[in-house]
Amino acid sequence: MIQQILSGLEAGSWYALLAVAIVIVMKATDVPNFAQAQIGMPGSYAAVNLINEGLNPILAMICGIALGYVIGAVIERVAIRPLSSLGHFPMLVMTIGLTYALVSLVTLTFKSEPRSFTTPWSEGGFTVGDLYVPYIQIITIITGVVLALILTYFFRTTWGVRMRAISENPGVSRLLGINSGLVSNLAWGIGAAISTLAMMLHTQATVLADSSADPLILKAFVAAVLGSFTSLSGAFIGGLAIGVIENLTGMWIGTGWKEAVSLIIVVLYLFVRMPSLVKSIKPREV
């Protein structure tokens, strides 16, 4: 039971981090980024390659995250900003296209065979009583919580306030002298860096393959929905909750239901919470 909750929290941390990245991008640029998990792939591959070259794992991970930031910022500048006047559906389709383009470029660059992301902490663990806890589980959960706290703090700083202002009312905030281009660039960069970290934690616990981002993205979106696409803490807690519920369902009801439960949650949640969600969406132009 505790074992299941722990591994639920571990999976939940991946979803939570990705959901937080989705919410940040959504808040700053109003784009539902379907490629949020895939955007973390190039950085993860680069980190694995650097580790195989003999670099210190922590340094390699930092390099990977930096690469993730750059990729996010470049994508924002090249593909997203010119189209910022389009609505949600075109942007959703755009990021779906981006998913395909990114994953296939990764496959072409790094070859498609799965590889293991080995770090000193990705294997081994410790026992408490009759409970075996892998190091990576604890590290993933702690990283998630620490990052969530940092981000909460960040959104209280000037940059965070600017980002929130842009999402509240882009026109007025531009009049007040906020550089909206820079803010959205920052949001995509940070979002991509967080995604890279989430993908690294995920692939260290499992295996790094070109399809390893696919199962995460829908659940991350479910978690973001639980946070109404506006609340970072809601998305984070939602992600953790989904991870735990999934694992407990897998244990009590059956592994086949494990994948379905988050989908059922989101459909039911949208059914129940619809009116309040609609209220939280501003009519854009009538």
């Binding site: 609505g87 075109p90 389709v93 981006l98 969600l277």
Partner: protein, 334 residues
Amino acid sequence: MSLNTATSLIPDWVSNPKRPVKSSITRYSLLAGMVILPWFLGGYYIYIVSLVLVYTLGTLGMNVMIGWTGQIGLAVAGFFGLGAYATSILHERGLPWILAVVGVGLFAALIGFIDGFPAVRLFGFFLAIASLAFGDLILRVILEADGITGGGGGYSVQLLDFWGFDREIALYYICLLAIVAFMVFVGRVLEGRLGRTMRAVNNIEIAAPSLGIAPPKYKLIAFMFSGSIAALAGSIFAQLLTYLSPDMFKTSLLITMLVMLIVGGVGSLWGSFAGAIFVVFVQEWLQAFAVYQRIVFGVSLMLCIGLLPGGIASIGDKARAKFGKRQQRVTGAE
């Protein structure tokens, strides 16, 4: 401007009833060409053309929903799978195929009603996510009901008996019949009152109730309709492919259909056809290179959104607009 988010992809002439009507000569000669096609093409090519037609049919339903009513429903791959499995299973259990198709079509409309229910009060990408999850749930049910569907192991479809006729050609004619029937039906309906009402729901949702239009009703109709058409396309798809597996109806099928819709042109029935030709051509051309297929699909989606929002269908109109303007200018100079 509208509240809904799909609008910016729809070329003006969809909202404008005075859109240029394709000349009937073009239509009938195209139809005649399609009817005599099997005399000129070999079995494999006929199969490819049938595939194009089935995909067109599946995309048509999504097109009506997104292009006309502006509802971003992304459960279409699930409905495709539902139709493919349900019809094949009923057929195997002894029901005549055509009855099975009709029954499954009605059942899919019911499921589409449930899928569309959140749409009554939800819009934009919340709806997209709800329907995406819904489509995935349909697939989960197929996967879990392995007693009847074979689960992940796949399912061999019981083939239709064509009394000795060539299978590929008979299937081709079934596809052609279905597509012509739907093109005519959908074209008629969408140019009429229902189509205008659907456009009103998309374009002026807030004002629609004061005109006596209940948007929820028309949204639900769009969902039921698109679910039903996708299921019908799925039924024929099963006969074409002869083997089904849940993997075939995953998100990748949804993305393929989105490519057809977007590249072809949202809000254009002929666009869906053009998009299906594009997709099947790329799939066959790059058959052995799935990676390059994905690159082509991904990049074409991005390019279409960025540079050609009306898709292939809008090229002709754009050219005509440009050419027409120049002509006007010339006459003006005289």
